[in-house]
Amino acid sequence: MTTVNLVYFAWVRERIGRAEETLELPDGIVTAGDLLAHLKTLGEEYEAALEHENVIRVAINQEHVEHDEPIAGAREIALFPPMTGG
């Protein structure tokens, strides 16, 4: 088991219903993409938030990563929609 600190923003946060949480992950979750697939099994709020998995952006320790990035050792993993600042 691995413990991860997750933070969510914008409509990902609204659909999941919380801004942050700490979760225990089962073995076999290696990449950010594996994490998204696992979260979608946790309930309909996660399913709704992560339905279009390919548009979800991931940051590990406050830096953008691709979905194939390993998550081992991450202090903080953020999930959010495409950005619309500026």
């Binding site: 923003f9 929609p81 950005m83 600042g85 500026g86």
Partner: protein, 156 residues
């Protein structure tokens, strides 16, 4: 480019363009060009009463700093300042400011343009629209043209 002053702030309060230009160029005699870009909240022909800007504290500052430092190196800028506001912003109010300085104008223009293109697609901010009639319009969708604007910088 080591030693180039890069100032980044993420804040709720407004900013003053003249004060930021003054702070960036005060006491220097080597700067020949200063470009400022400021982005404001539009009312979409009266349909919008406000924008609510959410951000990722910590990463927002870090990501804008990375973008500004890359621009400083790429274009040979002498100084860069970037300020992005968060929270509720009304039509006509400032959202974002970028100030770039260089010996000659093209580097400052290009640097500011580059910073804005990357800021829009990579800095962790999200806009939610508040409608004038009180009905929530929801989150602003990311635009393909913003991705295209960013990608043109890697084509040469």
């Amino acid at each position: 480019m080591a030693g180039v002053p890069v100032t980044v702030r993420v804040q709720r309060e407004d900013f003053d363009l003249a004060a930021e230009v003054q702070a960036l160029s005060a006491g220097r005699h080597d700067i020949g060009a200063v470009v400022t870009f400021s982005g404001l909240c539009r009312d979409e022909a009266g349909a919008l009463s406000a924008l609510e800007l959410e951000h990722y504290p910590g990463m927002a500052e870090a990501e804008i700093t990375r973008i500004c430092e890359e621009a400083a190196t790429r274009f040979g800028l002498q100084a860069v300042s970037a300020i992005h506001r968060f929270g509720k912003i009304l039509p006509g109010e400032n959202i974002v400011l970028v100030v770039t300085a260089s010996p000659h104008r093209q580097a400052a223009f290009n640097g500011a343009n580059f910073i804005m293109d990357f800021l829009k697609t990579s800095a962790p901010f999200w806009k939610k629209e508040h409608a004038a009639d009180g009905i929530a319009r929801g989150w602003v969708s990311a635009k393909d043209e913003d991705d295209s604007a960013r990608d043109r910088w890697s084509k040469n």
